[in-house]
């Protein structure tokens, strides 16, 4: 893809993206778009953003050459250590950027949705950092699965709302956050955590997260003297994948592989594989691939990892898939669990269950790559938050 210039001025990535929201939100979205346009070209804002990424979030993160993994898989495997970011995942990159923007827009209150709780924690963290009031919406089901993160958000001074509607997971948390935003639109900044939602969120979140891919470019050239052969990342909404992929889109020799949640297997109907099994539709303000039934009702997703348990996916990923620029595959719940063990035992790194999907893919498909291929896996988050639920799962076995 030469000269990649998406989205267009209406926020479209080909047929995807756009704005599908109640009219009440159109004025605030326009205000947000304008504010973002201002800061995106401001050298002062960029400096400030990078100051906090470096001094507070701990960037740049290492691109670690995984020695034992490489040897066993006969590849040259690099891990982009987003798990070493402050709060334990890549989510902080975006929340720092958006919280700075919220501050510039003089918003007094930040709300956010969260699935695994990583985005909730990252939002509560920056809200504390900048002294802004913070409320987080989280599905009741996820509150049970991710108790540690709920406690962390509370420690950080955020109020956590338990969402009881629908499937009580990430999608319903997002509905509830949007309802809050419609109601408190004058005072409130809605900090979306993924490359989803109405324009300008998919673009803005991608831009803030693209620090991941930009660092990888520099680091890999220094270590290998060339661009990588393949990039891999797990895909729920898709923020860690877009963050890694975006700076490489025009380098078409670099394969980009998104790994979705296969859940109990695609044939079971219980999975989070929106790109592979969804149809184009409209969910949460944007047009993208969506898991849905024949009459257009959103089909609940399933994944062992709360962060991939989402029936939609970012519009830009939908576009990149259709264009054939991105490859899509999936691994099941049990393969992801194996992935977690594998990385823990091979490299001494316990990944988040979300991230474990990308690791499991690498292990499963390693043979399909030419020997000594240089591959970069986005190690999007660390697994501390999952240790309890993994222990409970293994006890059952």
């Amino acid at each position: 893809m030469k000269q990649y210039r998406w989205p267009d001025e209406k926020g479209h990535f080909g047929p995807y993206g756009g704005k599908f929201v109640p009219e009440t939100l159109m004025a605030p979205l326009t205000e947000l778009e304008e504010a973002y346009r201002q800061v995106a070209k401001s050298a002062i804002f960029k400096k400030e953003f990078h100051y906090y990424l470096q001094e507070y979030a701990g960037r740049p993160t290492p691109l670690y050459f995984a020695q034992r993994l490489s040897q066993e898989l006969r590849l040259r495997v690099y891990l982009k250590r987003e798990d070493l970011c402050h709060t334990g995942a890549h989510k902080i990159n975006n929340t720092v950027g958006q919280a700075l923007l919220a501050q510039k827009m003089r918003k007094k209150r930040i709300i956010a949705e969260t699935g695994a709780g990583q985005h909730g924690v990252a939002t509560a963290t920056v809200a504390a950092l900048f002294g802004i009031r913070c409320e987080i919406y989280m599905g009741e089901e996820d509150i049970h699965r991710q108790a540690l993160n709920v406690f962390r958000m509370k420690l950080l001074g955020a109020k956590v709302h338990s969402v009881q509607s629908g499937t009580r997971t990430l999608k319903d948390a997002m509905n509830e956050a949007i309802r809050d935003w419609v109601t408190n639109v004058d005072t409130t900044y809605y900090l979306i955590g993924s490359v989803a939602g109405p324009h300008p969120y998919p673009m803005m979140v991608r831009d803030f997260q693209s620090v991941i891919g930009k660092e990888v470019r520099k680091q890999i050239v220094k270590k290998e003297g060339k661009l990588p052969d393949a990039l891999m990342a797990c895909v729920g909404g898709g923020s860690n994948a877009m963050g890694l992929f975006y700076p490489f889109i025009e380098d078409k020799q670099v394969r980009m592989i998104g790994v979705e949640a296969g859940g109990l297997g695609l044939h079971s109907g219980k999975h989070g594989a929106s790109l592979e099994r969804g149809r184009p539709g409209i969910l949460h303000g944007t047009r993208s691939y969506v898991l849905q039934d024949s009459s257009g009702q959103i089909h609940p997703a399933h994944s062992i990892s709360a962060g991939l348990d989402y029936p939609g996916v970012g519009p830009e990923l939908s576009f990149l898939k259709d264009e054939g620029r991105m490859e899509v595959d999936n691994v099941t719940d049990s393969e992801a669990l194996e992935g977690l063990h594998y990385l823990a035992e091979m490299e001494g790194i316990i990944p988040a269950l979300e991230t474990a999907h990308a690791v499991a893919y690498l292990k499963k498909r390693a043979r399909q790559f030419k020997e000594e291929s240089v591959v970069v896996v986005n190690l999007s988050g660390r697994g501390d938050k999952d240790v309890q639920s993994v222990a409970a799962l293994e006890e059952k076995k």
């Binding site: 109640p22 004025a27 509905n175 149809r279 024949s294």
Partner: protein, 266 residues
């Protein structure tokens, strides 16, 4: 007469009687389709000038708890958008009241736009209201609705700047739906602050009839906005009664509709 023309006529008729149109909303399939049919008939008989049938959706992000719940109950009972044409076909043999479908984008798009619009126009649905369809994304649908003689009602909100209200008033067909407040659907105790001047502003900017909705449930509220608006939408108040009174609800819904209709008179 049908479609857009039927809606136009309803507004002309109420205007000539010096009253606002009462627009009643029900969630289709709540508690089941047979009841929806009976409820629509009793609303029509009680004097509702237009009727909105809500298509249940799994993720109704513009709706408050009452309509969320009714949608969920309808879906749990197996409601599918496929049942709408038959329901409307049966209703049309008995009533001429304008019928509009209120649906989020996804259920409609999932049906294939051309096929869906043709089918509902054939059974004489008169128009569509789509709360998550923005002006920016509406061009195709406007064209296709016009081709099928259907109204496509746009919404304005208290956050819409004047030039946007004008653009929406220009684009809308049937009437312009004014959202009374910042928030989701559902009854409120009092009229939202600033609603009267806002309504006046919309009236001034819109060549099309202006209806107002969200949060309105009581005769006093309806009476006050009816002085300015051409139509008043009441939804959650009816849905709540359906929830509470089950089999008896057609009678009770009818009583409320009569009181509200009386309140629309100027």
């Amino acid at each position: 007469m049908k479609g857009l023309q039927r809606i136009d006529l309803a507004f002309t008729a109420t205007k000539n009687r010096n009253e606002a149109a009462l627009i009643a909303f029900l969630t289709a399939g709540h508690p089941d389709l047979a009841m929806t049919e009976r409820l629509v008939l009793s609303l029509s008989e009680a004097g509702a000038d237009l009727i909105e049938l809500g298509i249940p959706f799994s993720d109704p992000l513009a709706d408050g708890p009452v309509i969320q719940r009714s949608s969920q109950l309808a879906l749990e009972k197996g409601f599918s958008i496929d049942s709408i044409p038959e329901l409307v076909y049966r209703l049309r043999r008995k009533i001429v009241t304008p019928l509009l479908l209120m649906s989020y984008c996804n259920p409609i798009l999932s049906q294939g736009l051309d096929r869906f619009l043709k089918t509902i126009a054939e059974v004489e649905v008169d128009g569509l209201i789509i709360p998550d369809l923005t002006l920016e994304e509406s061009a195709t649908l406007h064209k296709k609705c016009a081709e099928n003689g259907l109204a496509l009602v746009m919404l304005v909100a208290p956050t819409s700047p004047p030039e946007r209200i004008e653009a929406l008033a220009k684009a809308t067909t049937g009437f312009l739906y004014t959202v009374s407040l910042k928030g989701v659907t559902g009854s409120r105790q009092t009229l939202p602050a600033g609603v009267i001047p806002f309504l006046r502003q919309v009236k001034k900017l819109s060549p099309q009839p202006v209806a107002i909705g969200f949060g309105l449930s009581k005769p006093e509220q309806v009476s006050e906005v009816s002085q300015i608006a051409d139509g008043v939408v009441v939804g959650s108040a009816f849905v709540k009664l359906v929830d509470r009174y089950g089999r008896l609800s057609p009678m009770i819904v009818s009583t409320l509709a009569k009181r509200l209709k009386k309140a629309t008179r100027r």
